[in-house]
Symmetry: C2
Subunit: 379 residues, 2 copies
């Protein structure tokens, strides 16, 4: 099968760019002296995560319990579920533990810690728990210096559960547009997580892991002393938002959406493709960055940008192509393929159940599809 035989819209994953991105982050793990526990929330694919860990320990971070079950079924059984768990999902987490999965769950609350203790007793399992630490984003987490940190740890420990460690995510690195600014936040993240672990340990409670991570922080942290593992995820594919943060160049974005030109509107200088709000997502996060990428930049089927051309508007199944000089109709006839670079790849990929993998050499729509890799969605 060749790219031109793919039904559109379809995800196309450039394996060479993927491997470049994966190797880069393994290099960072090595430089920083931390374990890489890649976050599976972006790729949601066992094939991708296996390549991400390379020769290192096989482990993953997840954002949903459905991901946890999927990775476990696919042989990736050392799992941290890094979002504060809703108590109603504890029975499923217990079932994974009973199946022998090495799953750690996360909370930031003494109240949920008490629920975890109760569920652990009810289901006959010893939950391993990461305590989320707020390092400045104020989304989840307890402050490193708070009473709530120790109350959570104490509730778990005294209830017979394992405090596996502490976990921080400095999501506010996404608001940066250069490496220096990211490095400042990454240092606050590191210091907060290390301090929280120190306080738990000083309270006499074992606390093995100190886990941090976002893609920008992982790339630009000066050092991660005291940290045991990091959890970047979006780096595998990269996207236009990460370009805006300074994490990569446009040429390093590994995932694109293949679409087909379905009409020309010479009266408006626009054209439409069959990839719209569902195929691209309605994420507009680049609108807050210095360079707004619309709903994604448009490349030809080789993956080479068509200068100035972007998806300017979307409806459910329509994307409107527009650019400063108008759409070049002669090189994009109706029926021709384009590839769209995503704004925020975690959102864009989420509507698809598979990747078409190409080797990334430039042969236009003659490129063979090497494989289809599945992905898991939902909760």
């Amino acid at each position: 099968m060749l790219i031109r035989d793919l039904p559109t819209p379809h995800l196309v994953l450039d394996r060479r760019k993927l491997e470049h991105n994966l190797a880069r982050m393994r290099g960072r793990a090595s430089e920083l002296g931390v374990r890489l526990r890649p976050h599976g929330k972006t790729a949601k694919s066992a094939e991708v995560v296996r390549r991400a860990v390379g020769d290192g320990p096989v482990m993953v971070t997840v954002s949903t319990l459905r991901e946890a079950g999927y990775f476990a079924e696919n042989g990736i059984r050392d799992i941290v579920h890094a979002n504060c768990i809703a108590p109603n999902r504890l029975p499923e987490a217990a079932a994974l533990l009973r199946d022998g999965v090495n799953l750690a769950i996360t909370t930031d609350s003494p109240a949920v810690a008490a629920e975890i203790v109760r569920a652990g007793r009810e289901f006959g399992v010893r939950f391993a728990v990461m305590i989320e630490v707020d390092v400045g984003e104020h989304r989840g987490g307890v402050a490193a210096e708070s009473d709530a940190l120790l109350a959570t740890a104490r509730t778990l420990h005294d209830g017979g559960m394992e405090v596996r460690g502490v976990l921080a995510h400095a999501g506010h690195t996404y608001g940066c547009t250069d490496a220096a600014a990211v490095a400042v936040i990454a240092e606050a993240e590191r210091a907060g997580a290390v301090r929280a672990a120190q306080r738990v340990r000083e309270a006499g409670i074992p606390c093995r892991e100190v886990s941090v991570g976002s893609t920008p922080g992982a790339l630009f942290a000066k050092h991660l002393n005291g940290v045991t593992e990091f959890r970047p995820g979006v780096y595998m594919f990269m996207d236009l938002f990460q370009v805006g943060v300074g994490c990569c160049g446009i040429g390093e974005i590994a995932l694109t959406v293949l679409g087909t030109v379905i009409n020309h509107r010479p009266d408006e200088g626009t054209a439409h493709i069959d990839a719209g709000a569902l195929a691209l997502s309605k994420d507009r996060s680049t609108s807050a960055q210095p360079v707004d990428r619309g709903f994604g930049l448009v490349t030809d089927v080789f993956g080479l940008p068509l200068p100035g051309l972007s998806v300017e508007a979307v409806h459910q199944e329509h994307g409107r192509l527009a650019g400063a000089g108008g759409v070049p109709f002669e090189i994009l006839p109706i029926g021709s393929r384009v590839r769209v670079l995503p704004n925020h790849v975690c959102m864009t990929a989420a509507m698809y159940d598979r990747y078409a993998v190409v080797d990334g050499t430039e042969k236009g729509d003659e490129q063979p599809v090497e494989a289809f890799w599945d992905r898991v969605n939902g909760w």
Copy 2:
């Protein structure tokens, strides 16, 4: 199973509100003297569409070929695919025809019409084709008075294909905020579609169907003389955007996202739920309306709005609750459930593979889940 036993996030469909909305639109079809061909792009569910048609003819509109295959498998075999088809999907459309499905496809281009003729011959089928007419939105469609309309019809007809009819969608009704403004656009849609059909017929080409429709237009058109069928979809569930257009009240929104409070942030007056960008979508279309609903309004588990409380921000799996008076922590303890009214339900529902159906009487989290109805996603 009760609502409180559902894993979160989860879609909850209120059957009584659904049936109210479905009956309302059947009433409009009857008043207007047109067939109701409900658009399946919102619900993507055979159970919902079967209820939508009631005792009327069993038919559906779809936005993807995957929907077409799904509805056909589920016994709904009179189908209009109402988006201009990408030529690469013609083999699949032909396969459905060969399986006996009464499928009509859509185009707005003589170039694609020629591809349809070629594919029809190659696969030994006679495609039935709707020609899309632009009635002012300038997304898809040829102008009613254009040469391209007749060129498309002629290419299809002379090539042995069936010109089933003409089809218009006045998506710009979504920019209105009152019934009178919608009615003006709906009349332009009707008149444009009727005129286009007249021109095709005057050219000696049969053109049976005249199809229009959006939810606002279907609700507020003064008459639809000359139209044979209409294709509203979002009316089944309604959403906050449709409230802003004036199509319904908040109490008529039938679909909500059930989420769980996973933390409190008393320092900020906020809380987080386990329903974020994927569970709610990043659709912000109400931001262009007089009343901006954030990422959705929050109700308690009974479905009663918590005054002033909305989802103010989302991350992939987190939604931040905020409101003018702060989050009422005492009535939303950690672990409690809320339901979120969606901004744009087509986007919100798209990440889920099923609906939990409740009967809509008010018993809070004791409400029994009557059924799970599946839905189809992807392409």
